[in-house]
């Protein structure tokens, strides 16, 4: 199964909108599955109009420190050695601050009294939806204020793998940014599509996204969304792509209909038949990239 990640660095450039229509296009000839790895703000199922989740399960990917104060001798070692400053000190005893514990276990190791243990915590839920387009979307949602988004991303990808049966393609929607959850979305995949827009921010963030993809030695292609809002900047993106030998597989013009599609929760390709040709073209070029050395 080929795995393709969609990322952008900058948020709101159209990752999920484009992925949804591309998924529908590909699903007409291949069995696919989608993984929404934006576990802070999972939107892909919404874009595809699948409001109902088939099943949710709670997920434990993190641990946090628990103090047995009857054993504690107030030596303060845990407080001093916590690199994440997650331990507070009050009435000469430690307490755990909100939203800070990484579950690393250093406090447990340094405690001379064996007064600290690690307890597993539910930090996310994970589930999948059946879309009306004949493929599933696996989503995860990190609990409010929980840490560990990278690990939850891996769980979402694993769940998608379990549900993939005979699928020959997995499309992964990553979060904005280039940090921990994005690295977890990109690593070990076969190809990445970087979506960008012709603004100074879009260009800067595209370059940063490219560095991450390049670090993992993953081949990539670029889609310029809203390419006509600034043709000079679009030209700069093309120059960059040329210099790095990356294909630009589509230039999509600005269209208010994308907002309408989101509001109605109908992908653009269903809302406006004119987009069928655009996405067929993206699919063709994408396949050329990912099946370069193989027979399709």
């Amino acid at each position: 199964m080929k795995k393709i990640t969609i990322l952008s660095g900058k948020g709101g450039v159209g990752k999920s909108s484009i992925l949804a229509s591309l998924a529908i296009t590909i699903s007409k000839e291949k069995d696919i599955i989608c993984a929404d790895c934006d576990v802070d703000a999972s939107n892909l199922a919404l874009v595809l109009g699948a409001e109902k989740q088939e099943e949710w399960e709670n997920l434990t990917t993190n641990k946090e420190a628990v103090f047995d104060l009857t054993k504690c001798n107030s030596c303060k070692k845990c407080f001093e050695e916590c690199y994440f400053k997650a331990i507070g000190w009050k009435d000469d005893k430690p307490y755990l601050k909100d939203f800070s514990c990484e579950g690393c276990g250093t406090c447990q190791i340094v405690c001379p009294q064996n007064a600290i243990s690690l307890k597993e915590i539910n930090n996310a839920k994970i589930g999948y939806s059946n879309t009306r387009y004949n493929f599933k979307v696996v989503s995860g949602q990190l609990n409010v204020g929980s840490s560990g988004s990278g690990k939850v991303v891996f769980k979402v990808r694993k769940k998608a793998e379990e549900l993939s049966n005979n699928c020959n393609l997995m499309l992964i929607d990553s979060a904005a940014g280039i940090g921990c959850p994005v690295i977890a979305s990109v690593s070990g995949t076969d190809h990445a599509i970087i979506i960008t827009e012709p603004t100074p921010s879009g260009i800067s963030d595209m370059k940063r996204a490219f560095k991450v993809v390049n670090h993992f030695k993953i081949s990539c292609s670029i889609i310029i969304n809203k390419w006509d809002i600034n043709e000079i900047n679009s030209g700069k993106i093309e120059e960059f792509a040329n210099s790095k030998n990356i294909s630009i597989i589509s230039k999509i013009p600005f269209d208010k209909k994308f907002a309408k599609a989101l509001t109605k929760m109908i992908p653009i390709i269903i809302l406006d038949k004119n987009y069928e040709k655009i996405f067929l073209d993206i699919k063709e070029k994408l396949f050329k990239e990912i099946y370069k050395n193989e027979k399709i």
Binding site: Y83, V144, S204
Partner: protein
């Protein structure tokens, strides 16, 4: 006057956080001493929108372990306590270390029975500071392939604490999402404006971030951007349910899009009104 620290966030990406943050900073800077903090350290863009120069101010480092191979007895305990898979045990050899996976927690250092582990540092990002222009800009930037964005935010927060008394208003522009780096950036704020758009996606992500703000006990407001593209009801219902006001509606305009694409801060009636509410 007392300094007021305002956070700009939103959950969903691309709703206009940086556009609003830079516009408010620009407006306030006409009368007040303003520090704009770009806390979207994965993808910092405020300097691009305002066309401000960034001067390197500090390199942010994180500690990482290093092994003294003469002392190491190849027991493998360090690898077993590492929760981020940065240490790979190799039989009869010192372990292999993957630096980009390491968050510096120290579990390996303290677990080692023969004190064979010492500390060294790796660069994980940079802080830029510009205090020559009308708006002072503090901008954090994570090094590509480093995972722990919040360490850069912590460094920003330390600097803010040191220079806070120089300013009337500090505007903190956060990343998209709701995880660690966003929480770290919001911790300093007296009041937060969540920028959203009138779509089911905007609503979904806004609800997550508002729930977080309630948990953090920070006063919050909603700014509805591109209010005429989509359906406002999505956000109005949520605003009512959560009793958090929509304090401004900014309608879509081609001019804003063009200015953004050309690196110019926006000036309009709604931004003026938001600024007046902040000053009150």
């Amino acid at each position: 006057m007392m300094v007021k620290i305002i956070g700009i966030t939103g959950g969903k990406g691309g709703t206009g956080k940086s556009t609003v943050a830079t516009a408010i900073a620009h407006q306030l800077s006409k009368k007040y001493e303003v520090l704009l903090v770009d806390a979207d350290v994965d993808c910092p863009n405020d300097h691009l929108i305002l066309n401000l120069k960034r001067n390197e101010y500090k390199i942010v480092q994180q500690r990482i372990p290093t092994w003294n191979k003469d002392k190491c007895i190849n027991c493998g305990l360090c690898g077993t306590v590492c929760k981020t898979n940065a240490i790979v045990n190799i039989p009869n050899k010192s372990p292999m270390f993957i630096s980009t996976q390491c968050n510096g927690c120290g579990a390996c250092f303290f677990k080692c029975p023969v004190k064979a582990i010492n500390w060294t540092n790796k660069d994980i990002g940079k802080i830029y500071f510009n205090n020559q222009d009308k708006i002072h800009l503090l901008s954090g930037e994570l090094k590509e392939n480093e995972p722990v964005s919040e360490f850069i935010i912590n460094s920003l927060n330390e600097i803010i604490t040191k220079i806070v008394q120089n300013y009337d208003y500090i505007i903190i522009d956060t990343a998209a999402g709701t995880h660690c780096p966003v929480i770290a950036a919001l911790e300093m704020c007296d009041e937060v404006f969540a920028v959203t758009e009138p779509t089911p996606l905007g609503k979904h992500d806004l609800e997550v971030i508002l729930n977080l703000l309630v948990k953090l006990k920070i006063k919050s407001n909603i700014i509805l951007n591109r209010s005429d593209i989509g359906d406002k009801k999505f956000i109005e219902v949520l605003s009512k349910d959560m009793k958090i006001d929509i304090i401004s509606e900014i309608s879509y305009s081609k001019e804003i899009v063009n200015n953004y694409a050309n690196g110019v801060p926006i000036e309009n009636k709604q931004i003026n009104e938001i600024t007046i509410k902040i000053i009150k």
